[in-house]
Amino acid sequence: MNFAFSEEEEAFRAEVVAFLEDWRDLDAFFGQGHHWPRVKQLFQAMGARGWLSLGWPESEGGLGKPLTWEYILWDEVGYARAARNPLASGIVAKTLVRYGSEDQKRRWLGPIRSGELHFSLGYSEPEAGSDLASARCRAERHGDVYRITGEKCWQSYAQDMDLLWLLARTGTQESRGAGLSLFVVPLDAPGVTVGPLPTLDGDQLNEIHLDGAEVPVDARVGPEDGAWKIMAEALADERHIQFPPKRVRRDLEDLVDWVRENGRGADPAVRSTLGDLAVQVEEAEVQGLIVLDALRKGRPGIVEAAANKVVHTVVCQNVARAALEIAGPAALADDCGLNTLWRQSIWETIGGGTSEIMRGVVAKQALGLSGRR
């Protein structure tokens, strides 16, 4: 057992930290929609260093680095509050590597690697959130095209993205997960409308209406009706980077800074709360490493990732709630940084799989509590 990173990995971390010095003014981990042009520039600068394709195979233009490198990269970017990892270079690119045609890889992998091309995740629908297998958005084949009609909602960042990574039904409604396919749909295509859903953190999610939007048959990724297996595999591509533990460390540090600046550091009740939170942050960090360790050893890490998501997001909320309680009514002004932290944290236990779904995974797969026996 060894809890340390290698010298080479630490050297890479130092390189990332030095790189991020030039992006200290970018505060887009929360509210990316307010900063997209700058975030895109950041991704392009990362792309120029090969950092958006760190873990891709060298045969596909990647650097072929172990997962640890991606973990370190997005952990530091999260700590710097610069951005969240983009969908394109993770789930999309790694799925294209596995399932894309040569033509699809040629078309999309290059601009994804350079940070030029960006995707929004088009899975959720008004009636299909936690239960994605009940998705209704329909893609009908007509000769060389699919005609797509339906509604997607709660898409992050779709207002700024180029393409939609769309889950659509190609089989019968009763076929559930076995009748779904994946498509790449331009967000500016005729018949595609993106509308804002303003959210409580001052940012927005989106709803996307597809009204007979047509895409060529070769916009489908993987086999028809084959999305479920592909999606499950793709989830594994992001398990080690989706919840960077240094983000919660930074949350706590921001709170400690506020406490110091406002002369509250000597209050024993405040110190006790901060100590408690520090322990919780340690837990979040070790849970993140457990996921990384599982994936590095070739295990799917499903239970580890579910536990990590619960711990990480609950710690986010605990830090944010403590921040509000320590700061008191001063934090009710929207221009108070602690306020943003708190409002954003509401979303963490909901987006990307609710805590209830995650705990269900742990109960069934780790504890063997499945079925009604």
Partner: protein
């Protein structure tokens, strides 16, 4: 002892609900909230109908005023009914004239209704004072916490009528009583809208409210909302005595933390958007649970009153 409303109280609640049906509700709260406005029309309707006088009326008192405040909070009302109809009568012996803000002396934090209030009741140690507020006394503050907020400059509230010895404690007690009642009403609103949602929202072929894990947690919320209501009304029945008011406010502030978290969790992505009604009540819970030092402050007040 009787936990049912008597005929007169039931008639008051029914009449208040009819008025609120017409003048309040989540849609109106969202509309006014987007503009940072105060519901002057509702305030006027409550005054004209005499409801603001309940705390010092003939045959009615703080309990009836608390029932009014509870109904208003549950209806998402955006006016200072708690301060005007419950706090002012207990501190001044008469209802407040027009929109009224409650302020801790020297606070530069956002204050509910500050930018719209015609007067402020200011808590300053063991004294309270009533300070008239000309237009522009407070600066509006952008806030997502469900109330129009404003901020006073340091020293802006140093004048006004000193309300005499003991007025500080009277204001503190009445303020805590009002918080307990507003929290109870707002929690009920948040829970009701969530219950509607989990009964309608279907995933995995069934309503999400049919899952036992969801039921247990919402049942716990319901018990705490009811507990908050009874402690608040009991405190009002006793005229807002220190211990009872502090206990009601402390219990409700703790309960509101859970009710906020659970109602948002079970309202999912929908509840995180401004299109859904939940935030009308849920965000206010956070504002209310921070006033007067929150649960910790109320608990200290209770301990001091009982064992000092």
């Amino acid at each position: 002892m009787d936990f049912e409303l008597d005929d007169a109280q039931r008639a008051i609640v029914e009449a208040v609900d009819v008025l609120l049906e017409r003048h309040a509700g989540p849609a109106r709260a969202i509309e006014l909230g987007a503009k940072g406005e105060y519901d002057g029309a509702l305030h006027g309707a409550l005054r004209e109908s005499g409801f603001l006088e309940l705390a010092c009326g003939e045959g009615t008192g703080p309990l009836e005023a608390a029932l009014l405040v509870e109904c208003a909070a549950r209806a998402g009302a955006l006016c200072s009914v708690a301060a005007s109809a419950l706090v002012a009568p207990l501190v001044l012996g008469r209802p407040g004239d027009g929109p009224l803000a409650l302020v801790e002396s020297g606070s530069t934090a956002p204050i509910r209704y500050a930018a719209h209030a015609h007067a402020a009741l200011v808590l300053d140690g063991d004294r309270a004072r009533l300070v008239p507020l000309p237009d522009g006394s407070a600066t509006p503050v952008a806030s997502t916490f469900g109330y129009p907020m404003g901020r006073f400059e340091v020293g802006a509230l140093s004048e006004g009528d000193d309300l005499g010895a003991g007025s500080g404690d009277r204001l503190r007690d009445a303020w805590r009583l009002a918080l307990a009642v507003e929290l109870a009403g707002s929690m009920a609103g948040a829970l009701e809208t969530t219950l509607t949602y989990v009964k309608e929202r279907r995933q995995f072929g069934r309503a999400i409210g049919s899952f036992q894990g969801v039921q247990h947690r919402l049942a716990r919320c319901h018990i705490q909302v009811q507990g908050s209501r009874w402690l608040a009304l009991e405190a009002a029945h006793g005229g807002g005595a220190t211990e009872a008011s502090a206990a009601g406010a402390a219990y409700a502030a703790e309960a509101a933390g859970r009710v906020f978290a659970e109602t948002h969790q079970f309202s999912g992505a929908m509840g995180f958007t401004r299109e859904h009604d939940l935030h009308v009540w849920s965000m206010r819970l956070q504002a209310l649970r921070l006033e007067l030092d929150g649960a910790a402050g109320h608990e200290r007040a209770l301990a001091e009153a009982r064992w000092a």
